[in-house]
Each structure stands twice: as C-alpha cells, then as structure tokens.
Symmetry: C2
Subunit: 79 residues, 2 copies
C-alpha cells in the first residue's frame, strides 16, 4: 500500500465512522465518551488522520452498536 | 474494555490470523513478506501481543486473501 492508498484508506474508514455516527444521531463528543477516547482523537479518526489500533476500532464498533464485520462490509482486501 | 478483555481480544485476533495463515499453507515469514512487515511483528500479532493498526490489519487481509469483513465474521461489538 503506497502512501496515497494509506491516506485514502484512513479517510474512507473515517468517513464510514462518521456516517454511522450521524445515522445513530450522536455527536463526536458522545461517541468519544462511549469509547472513553478523547473527542479530538475521534475527530482525527473521522478526518482520516488516525491509523487507529484494533482495540479502538472495536471500541468504536461497540459505541456505534455495529459489528466489526458490518463496519468493514464492502471493503475488499485493501483499497 | 478492561485489560483482561483487551488481552483476550488481541489473542483472539492473533489466533484468527494464525489459523487462516495455516489454512493458506504459508509461513509467518511468507506472511510477513507479503505484508512488508517484520517476521517478529507477525509473530507478535499471532501471539496477541500487538494492538495493530488499521493499515496493518488490512495489509494482513490482503496477504491472507480474505476480506476484512470475513476476518471479523462472528465478532460481536467487543468480546
């Protein structure tokens, strides 16, 4: 994965988190609170600026009430 | 997620990577090579010692020829 792919991958993931969060009608503040993460960190995730770890991915899934397999639905191996 | 949950979660992920790798009949060396990761890093992932980032998760999916949604099949939000 070259740098460009990496940026696009993180942005895609962030956009997906954001769209599900909005679907759930919760703020970044609320999502951060549920995940016990900092609001600015969640903002960075949504902007595609964070290569977040597995544990934070799963914490976000729990907070958004979505299974990890659903969050990655439609993702081929690597974009 | 408490510390114990985190350890179990990483171990579960590592065991899953390992079982798929063995199914594919490839060595840790080969998996590491395909991911452009260090062999010892892959060993650490399989032992559940790594909270690996999204990009490495996706690189491992590509190397194992599995979709991310398949890798996380059966995972509820958080273990």
């Amino acid at each position: 994965m070259n740098d460009n792919d990496e940026i696009n991958t993180l942005r895609r993931f962030g956009a997906q988190v954001r769209s599900i969060r909005l679907l759930r009608g919760i703020s970044q503040e609320e999502l951060a609170h549920r995940c016990m993460l900092d609001r600015s960190y969640v903002g960075g995730v949504e902007r595609g600026e964070r290569n977040l770890g597995l544990l934070n991915i799963l914490a976000i899934c729990t907070a958004l009430e979505i299974k990890p397999s659903e969050l990655f639905e439609g993702w081929r191996d690597v974009e």
